[in-house]
C-alpha cells in the first residue's frame, strides 16, 4: 500500500509540473499563433436546431474564408485559415467541455454559433476564462450582452428584443391595438412576452390577456377557442412558441379559422426552415421579425445562390450571420495584424461596416452586441411562391438603431 501511495504521489507530482510547462498559449513565433487561424463552429448538428444552422453553417464559414483569401491574396495576415467543428447536442455541459477543448487542443482562435441560451452562456464563461473570442449567433438571450457579458463575447445576429420589437411595434402602429399573447412557460417564452408587452404598450396598444401554456404542448385548443370571446376582442394573436410547438399551434389556429374571425397571427421566432417544413399555406399571412432574408436584395440573392450550390438549400439568417461573423473576425485580424484576442477585440469594438448579412452594422463597444437592420416579414401564400424557398415578403426594414435595445447597465464592460 505504501509503495502504491508513493507512486501515486510521484505521478501526481509529475503531472502538476509538466502541466505547468505546457500551460499558456504558445509564445514566440510570428504574430499569428501556431502560424494559422483556426475558426471553430460549435452548434447543434443532430437535434432540433440542426436544420436552421448545423453543418451548413460550416459551409458558410468556409465561404467567408474563401472570400477573405480572394480579397487579400498574398497580403492576407495568415496563409493558413482552417475551420473545425463540433456538435454540442444542445447540452450546456457538452458545449462547455467542447469549447475548452476547441480553444486548448484545436487551438481555435474563435468559436462561432452556439444555439440554445444555456449552452451559449456556458461557452461565454469559457471564452472569458480562456481569453479567447466567442461570437454567438444561434442563441437569443439578451443576458449575453447583459448581466453575463464579457470582453471576449460578442452577440451577432439577433436577440429576443429584436424579435419582439420588430413585430410588436409595427403591427400595433399599423392599427392592430388589441393583443392576446400566449407563451410557453419557460425562460425564452417569458422573456419574449415581457419584450412584446413593452413593445406593444410603447406603440399605444393593449394586451387583452396573456396566457402561459404548458411546455412542450401539442394542444392549444383551450386558448384558441377562448380568443374570439375575449373582451375587447383581440385583433392579433401573439404566439411565442417555437419549433414543433409553433407548428402545432399554427395548424390549430387554421383549423379554428381564427383569421376569418378577424384575429391575425404574429409569431415570436420563426426560421425559414420552419416555414419550409410546415409549408407556406399553413402560415400564410403570419407576420414575424427576421434578421435577414435570402431573397430581399440582389446581393443577398447572389450569396444565397452560392450557398445553394454548396449545400442544396437556401440559407436561413443564421447561416448568413455565421458567414458574416467569420468574415468580420478575419477582417479584424487583418487590421490588427495579429490574432491575439485583446488586439482583435479592440478592432471589433465600435466597428462600423456593411456586408451581405449586416446592413448598417455596428458592433457596439459598450456590450458587444451587433446592431444591424432587421426586417418585418410576412409569409406568402403558396400562390405567390415563385420558386423553392421563396416564402417571405419583407414588409418593412427596421433601422439598425431602432432594432435593438439600449445597452444594459448590468453589463460592466
Amino acid at each position: 500500500m505504501r509503495t502504491y501511495r508513493r507512486t501515486a504521489a510521484l505521478a501526481a507530482g509529475v503531472a502538476l509540473v509538466t502541466a505547468g510547462c505546457n500551460g499558456g498559449p504558445g509564445g514566440g513565433g510570428g504574430k499569428i499563433s501556431d502560424g494559422k487561424i483556426e475558426i471553430a463552429v460549435l452548434n447543434d448538428q443532430s437535434g432540433v436546431y440542426a436544420d436552421l444552422s448545423g453543418k451548413a453553417s460550416v459551409e458558410a464559414v468556409k465561404m467567408a474564408i474563401a472570400d477573405f483569401k480572394a480579397k487579400y491574396g498574398g497580403k492576407a495576415v495568415a496563409k493558413k485559415i482552417e475551420v473545425t467543428t463540433a456538435d454540442h447536442q444542445n447540452k450546456p455541459e457538452v458545449a462547455s467541455s467542447k469549447a475548452q477543448e476547441l480553444y486548448d487542443r484545436q487551438r481555435a482562435d474563435i468559436i462561432l454559433d452556439v444555439p440554445t441560451s444555456s449552452a451559449a452562456l456556458a461557452v461565454a464563461g469559457v471564452a472569458k476564462s480562456k481569453k479567447k473570442i466567442f461570437m454567438d449567433i444561434g442563441a437569443g438571450t439578451t443576458a449575453l450582452e447583459g448581466a453575463q457579458c464579457n470582453k471576449y463575447t460578442f452577440h451577432y445576429g439577433y436577440n429576443t428584443y429584436m424579435l419582439a420589437h420588430g413585430t410588436g411595434d409595427t403591427i400595433t402602429q399599423d392599427g392592430a391595438k388589441n393583443w392576446y399573447i400566449i407563451y410557453p412557460d419557460y425562460a425564452f417564452g417569458q422573456d419574449m412576452t415581457k419584450s412584446f408587452s413593452a413593445a406593444i404598450k410603447g406603440a399605444g396598444g393593449t394586451i387583452v390577456k396573456n396566457d402561459p401554456t404548458p411546455f412542450p404542448s401539442d394542444n392549444f385548443s383551450t386558448f384558441l377557442l377562448k380568443a374570439p370571446g375575449l373582451n375587447p376582442k383581440p385583433q392579433v394573436l401573439g404566439a411565442m412558441q417555437a419549433g414543433g410547438d409553433l407548428v402545432n399551434l399554427v395548424k390549430q389556429y387554421n383549423e379554428y379559422g381564427l383569421r376569418k374571425k378577424g384575429i391575425g397571427l404574429a409569431v415570436g421566432l420563426m426560421f425559414l426552415t420552419d416555414i419550409h417544413s410546415v409549408g407556406p399555406d399553413a402560415l400564410a399571412g403570419t407576420k414575424f421579425s427576421d434578421a435577414w432574408y435570402w431573397n430581399a436584395s440582389p446581393d443577398n440573392r447572389a450569396w444565397a445562390d452560392r450557398f445553394l450550390a454548396k449545400t442544396g438549400k437556401r440559407p436561413t439568417f443564421a447561416h448568413a450571420a455565421n458567414y458574416s461573423a467569420a468574415l468580420q473576425y478575419l477582417e479584424a485580424v487583418q487590421r490588427a495584424g495579429t490574432d491575439k484576442s485583446d488586439a482583435v477585440v479592440k478592432q471589433l469594438e465600435g466597428y462600423k461596416f456593411g456586408d451581405v448579412f449586416a446592413k448598417n452594422g455596428t458592433i457596439r463597444a459598450q456590450d458587444h452586441l451587433l446592431l444591424h437592420d432587421a426586417y418585418l416579414a410576412q409569409v406568402k401564400p403558396s400562390a405567390e411562391v415563385k420558386e423553392p424557398w421563396d416564402y417571405e415578403k419583407i414588409l418593412k426594414t427596421i433601422p439598425a438603431d431602432q432594432a435593438f435595445q439600449q445597452p444594459d447597465a448590468a453589463c460592466g464592460l
Binding site: A8, A11, A19, A86, S96, Y186, A187, Q190
Partner: protein, 333 residues
C-alpha cells in the same frame, strides 16, 4: 468476491487508481472530470438499484438540487469548493428524506414512477424559481476557489476533485460490505423474510435511499464545480435515465460496473460530438441495446463471470452470499 478469491482485488484496485490518476493525460481533463462525476453518480444509483433492488427514476432530483446548491454556495459565499460540494450533498440527502419516506412504500415500477414524479416536481421548481436558479439559462461563473488557490485550470481541478470522488466511492463500497449492506441485500432478495427476521424493511430502504441520494449529490456538486455552471438539464429526467443506463451497461449490483458504464457513455458522447456523425442517439442506443441483449450482466458482470473458473461459476449461486434474484440470475457483490 470471486475476484478477491483470486487475490486479484488489490491489483485491480491499484490499476483502477492508476488509471484515475493518469486519466487527464490520456483524455481531455474536463471530460475526465465528467467521467469521475458520472462514475460516482452511477455507483450511488447502483447502491440503490443493485443492492436494495429499488429502481429510482428520479435521481436527477438529488444530483441536480445539489448542483444548484453547490453553485449557489460557491457563488455567494466564496467558501472553498469542497465545502460547497459537501453542502450540496447534505442538502440532497435531506431532500431525500421526505421523498424516500413516501416512495419506499412502493416497489418496482410504482417506485420508479413515484420517484420520477418527485424529480419532475423538483425540475419545475428549478425552472420557475428563476430569481434563484436562473431558469433555463442556469447559473454561470461559479468560482473554483480552494483557500485562495485558483483552480480554474481543469487539469489541476481534476486532481483537486478526484479525492472527493474517491472518498465517495470508498464510502459506497464500505456501505455495501457492512452488515447494513448485507441486510439491504436480504431486503432486496426476500423482503418478507427480512421482515420476519425482525428487520424494519422500510427503514432500511429509506436509509439506503438517503445514502444513495447523498452520494448522488456529492457527484452533482463536483460536476457543477467541474464545469463552473449549472443548467436546468441537471434536474431533467434524461439525467436520471442516463445514469440508470450507465449502471445497466456496467452491470447492476456490481458497484464498479457503474464506473465502467459512466466512462464508456461519457467517452462515447464526447467522441461522437466531433466524429461528424449526425445521429448520436442511434449509436448510444445501439450500444445499450446490444449490451442488454448480449451481455445481460453488463460489462463488469460479464467480465467477472468469464474470469471466474468453471467450478466457481457452477458453485456461484450457492456460495455467493448475495444469492439469487427472482429471475435466477446470480448476482455478484
Amino acid at each position: 468476491m470471486i475476484l478477491r478469491r483470486l487475490a486479484a482485488r488489490p491489483v485491480l484496485l491499484a490499476a483502477g487508481l492508476l488509471v484515475a490518476l493518469a486519466l487527464p493525460w490520456l483524455i481531455y481533463p474536463p471530460v475526465a472530470m465528467d467521467m469521475v462525476c458520472w462514475a460516482l453518480f452511477a455507483v450511488a444509483v447502483d447502491l440503490l438499484l443493485g443492492f436494495t433492488g429499488l429502481l429510482s427514476f428520479g435521481h436527477a432530483a438529488f444530483w441536480g438540487s445539489s448542483a444548484y446548491l453547490t453553485g449557489l454556495i460557491a457563488l455567494h459565499s466564496g467558501l472553498p469548493f469542497p465545502v460547497a460540494v459537501l453542502g450540496g450533498a447534505l442538502a440532497a440527502a435531506v431532500l431525500a428524506v421526505p421523498i424516500g419516506w413516501l416512495s419506499v412504500r412502493r416497489t418496482g415500477i410504482y417506485f420508479a414512477m413515484v420517484t420520477l414524479a418527485f424529480a419532475q416536481l423538483v425540475y419545475f421548481v428549478a425552472n420557475q424559481w428563476r430569481g434563484l436558479t436562473g431558469g433555463e439559462n442556469g447559473l454561470q461563473g461559479i468560482p473554483r476557489d480552494f483557500f485562495g488557490v485558483d483552480l480554474s485550470d481543469p487539469f489541476f481541478f481534476y486532481y483537486a476533485g478526484l479525492p472527493i470522488a474517491v472518498l465517495g466511492l470508498w464510502f459506497a463500497w464500505r456501505v455495501v460490505r457492512s452488515p447494513f449492506g448485507r441486510v439491504l441485500v436480504a431486503v432486496r432478495d426476500n423482503p418478507a423474510r427480512a421482515r420476519a427476521l425482525g428487520y424494519p424493511v422500510d427503514r432500511y430502504k429509506l436509509l439506503a435511499f438517503v445514502l444513495s441520494a447523498g452520494l448522488s449529490g456529492l457527484a452533482g456538486g463536483l460536476f457543477t464545480m467541474g464545469h463552473g455552471f449549472v443548467s436546468l438539464e441537471e434536474v431533467y429526467w434524461t439525467t436520471s435515465g442516463q445514469v440508470v443506463m450507465m449502471v445497466v451497461l456496467g452491470g447492476i449490483g456490481t458497484l464498479w460496473g457503474g464506473v465502467l458504464g459512466a466512462v464508456l457513455i461519457v467517452e462515447l458522447g464526447d467522441y461522437l460530438s466531433t466524429a461528424g456523425f449526425e445521429e448520436t442517439g442511434i449509436v448510444t442506443g445501439t450500444v445499450f441495446a446490444l449490451t442488454v441483449l448480449v451481455f445481460r450482466r453488463g460489462i463488469w458482470g460479464t467480465a467477472a463471470w468469464l474470469t471466474a473458473g468453471r467450478r466457481e461459476r457452477a458453485a456461484d449461486g450457492a456460495t455467493v452470499p448475495v444469492g439469487e434474484r427472482e429471475n435466477g440470475e446470480p448476482v455478484r457483490a
